[in-house]
Amino acid sequence: MRRIGIDVGGTNTDAVLLEDGRVVHAVKTPTTEDVTGGILASLDLLRRKPEVAQGRIDGVIIGTTHFINAVVQRRHLGKIAAVRIGMPAAASLPPFCDWPQDLAALVAGEVFMLEGGHDYDGREIMPFAEAEMRAAARRIREAGIGAVGVSAIFSPLDPSHEERAAAILTQECPDAQVTLSHRLGRIGLLERENAALLNAALGDLARVTIEGFRRAIAASGIDAPLFITQNDGTVMAAETAMALPVMSFASGATNSMRGAAFLSGIKDAMVVDVGGTSSDVGQLRNGFPREANSVVEVGGVRTLFRMPDLYSIGLGGGSIVKREPLNVGPESVGYRLTQEALVFGGSAVTATDAAVKAGVVAIGDAGRLGELSRETAGAVMTLAREKLEDAIDRMKTEAGDVTLIAVGGGAFLAPDRMAGIGEVIRVPHGDCANAVGAAVAQVSGETDQIYRDMTRAEAIAAAEAQAVERARAAGADPATIQTIEIEDMPLAYLPGNALRVRVRVAGEMAST
């Protein structure tokens, strides 16, 4: 069982080879503008090791912040059409109504609001407006728009109106990429619709990027299936990721926490990932990150993605030290650390310089630290520790000392003794924890449908069996599959004790 995990971050592209649950080799290269260049470079570095070059690779798993960065930076986004089904309800708040204007101007093409949608009890608000949908689809084709986001009121309860819209769009504009909101979220029309619209806008970028990933892998001579990690720490096949790029939005943070759990063998702990500019604090529960249960804004757009609950502070290895009063961060030299820090011959005093002076870590040339006194270095380290302690305390869910896993390139800023921390765990390859998290990502299977004339227990069992089958078909080892989520909603109005059941299962990737 040999897998390559790659994390494409804003600064670095990390890659690891994992063999039978052991990290054989790990490399770090700068991320390139086209993303694929960095992947190619890291795969080349990885394959210089003879043990990597030989033998087959069972899978390449990539985690990337590329799609979320595209939204935040307003780059590579396409014009889309929005179809809202639910009139006459919600008429005064049309699609894009709460988007930042610059982003809406970039993305919003045609907007259609049609009759249809459902009530909370499963009844139709209005019958689906078939003829109007067909007319809208023709307008979309004529306008030359290639991506459509479709949302219907209460579609998580009954997706049929969204599905009928998709069928018409497929007939009338066969080349358009269609995103249905019920595939992306739950109750909360605006937030779910926003996710669908963002997803549609990322359609072209997703296709180009993931095809680039494939080419890079093929060019480095690896013949293995490609997977992309998603927000919850499981993988999707590359084809699925092309259709649902927003599902990978938070995978960077998730991967680093999953990697921390894997490398330490600890399933319940706090995790701090100290990077170059910021530190993310999260909590592992049973090996998975605890999820945020509130609205998450992406590039100024409200969504309801299931994302890890993180507390981020502006403290990392590249944080700039300021005096009078003494402070460290939030400004950072970022990816220029290896040119601008004192220990690398630069002129900026950074947290890394203070750590070298304090004797906590050996990086670069300690002889260049002349102007930095031992007292100042010590004070900076104390300040950094206090900032981390406060961030960790904010994320703790119980009183008393907790175990902390410190990962990331700047993990040396977290000392062994910290208030509220029983033990600080450091792991080999902790600086590539996110790539390790990608390599160990699980395969999931999901089912979501309405069952009739069954007890609740029977319906859930039927849904579970189907989800397990889907996970197995997607490449999960059946012996390791566990149920991770069950959600059921009675549809009071429908005859035959109708129950909508959604089940999600996940298991380890099976050897091929």
Partner: protein, 361 residues
């Protein structure tokens, strides 16, 4: 009479969420509607209740139903205006102004939406001074004012009037049934009130109060000052407790969200705990020091749980582990402090066998 600016409405959304005392639903969707209406050039005026003539008619509006349904069907500003028009058509006269049933939460914005469409002013008053879960928990119910007729509207063109009921409890039952059939959401215009009734039984200047609180919080956020201190100063409140949420237990019963939250003390309150009980809104707070457990705040005093850093309110639906919270009390409207008022909204009305004692002595 003065114009309400869009900035006032942004402040109203923040302040009304605080006065929601944990419930009332987020004002976010209402705020979105108002941003769009103001962008179209509409504007709403605010009038003092004491500028009403005794025989003026005032429309009391609110959105009725499950917050969850509101998250899907959203709030359409025209619906609430239509409910007001139904009352006018039923009676054959015109309203002088619109006012809120409930200043806490989402219903604080409903009269502004109606007013923007109808060209009427909003009366600076409501009937709760906060948010409460049931129809009889209002100042007009305490005053035994007439509970009917009530207009309910659904945008599919379903219009219903409950023209007569013997008391407020029956109004709650009858209108709730209609609301359920409409999809558990309805725009409602409650029994009209005369200017004299608003002056005698309305809770006055609560729209200004919510705007004022929101303004101070937003100012403090901009200046990186303590927003909690700003709320206390603006609303003559008292700080009860500061700490971190360590436990939340929720259950849905009879259409209400009930449960408890426990906050572990920080700073001056380190070593103590605060237990909060809620029924949609925060109802009672007990301070726990070792073996002793003392109720220190209860309805009708307003218990508000705020984010210690931002000053924004935490709702009973969204509060969770780890949040840094400051719990404050604000004074109750005097109408609820009478024996009759306490029957409607005192601790016993929520099932707690405690004699009401005000935080404010």
């Amino acid at each position: 009479m003065r114009e309400i600016t869009l900035d006032d409405i942004e402040s109203l959304a923040v302040g009304a969420w605080i006065l929601g005392t944990g419930g009332g639903g987020s004002p976010y969707l209402g705020l979105l509607n108002m941003r769009r209406l103001y962008a179209e050039g509409r504007c709403v005026k605010l009038m003092s209740p004491f500028d009403l003539a005794d025989d003026d008619w005032v429309a009391v509006v609110s959105n009725m139903g499950a917050p969850l349904v509101g998250q899907e069907r959203l709030a359409d500003s025209r619906n609430i205006a239509r409910a007001v028009e139904m009352q006018q058509a039923y009676h054959g006269w015109k309203f002088r102004a619109v006012m809120s049933l409930e200043i806490g939460g989402n219903n604080s914005i409903q009269p502004l939406m109606a007013a923007a469409h109808l060209g009427l002013p909003v009366v600076d008053a409501d009937t709760m001074g906060r948010a409460y879960p049931e129809a009889q928990m209002t100042s007009v119910a305490v005053g035994d004012l007439r509970p009917y007729p009530c207009a309910l509207y659904d945008p599919r063109g379903i219009e219903a009037m409950v023209t007569q009921v013997p008391n407020w409890k029956w109004m709650e039952r009858a209108s709730r049934k209609i609301c359920t059939e409409m999809g558990s959401i309805a725009s409602t215009c409650k029994a009209p009130r005369t200017g004299a009734e608003v002056k005698e039984w309305g809770i006055h200047f609560t729209t200004s109060k919510a705007i004022g609180i929101g303004k101070r919080v937003r100012e403090a956020q901009r200046r990186h000052e303590d927003p909690i201190a700003a709320v206390l100063d603006e609303a003559q409140g008292k700080l009860l407790f500061r700490g971190k949420v360590i436990d939340v237990a929720r259950r849905t019963t009879e259409g209400f969200l009930r449960g408890t939250a426990v906050i572990d003390g920080l700073d001056e309150d380190r070593g103590s705990r605060l237990e909060l009980a809620f029924q949609n809104e925060w109802v009672v707070a007990w301070r726990v020091d070792g073996e002793s457990r003392t109720p220190i705040a209860m309805s009708p005093d307003l218990i508000c749980v705020l984010d210690s850093v931002s000053g924004n309110a935490f709702g009973t639906e969204t509060i969770r582990y780890g949040m840094r919270a400051s719990v404050i009390a604000l004074p109750a409207p005097p109408v609820f402090l009478t024996p009759k008022g306490l029957q409607h909204v005192g601790p016993r009305a929520f099932g707690y066998d405690i004699d009401f004692r005000s935080v404010f002595g």
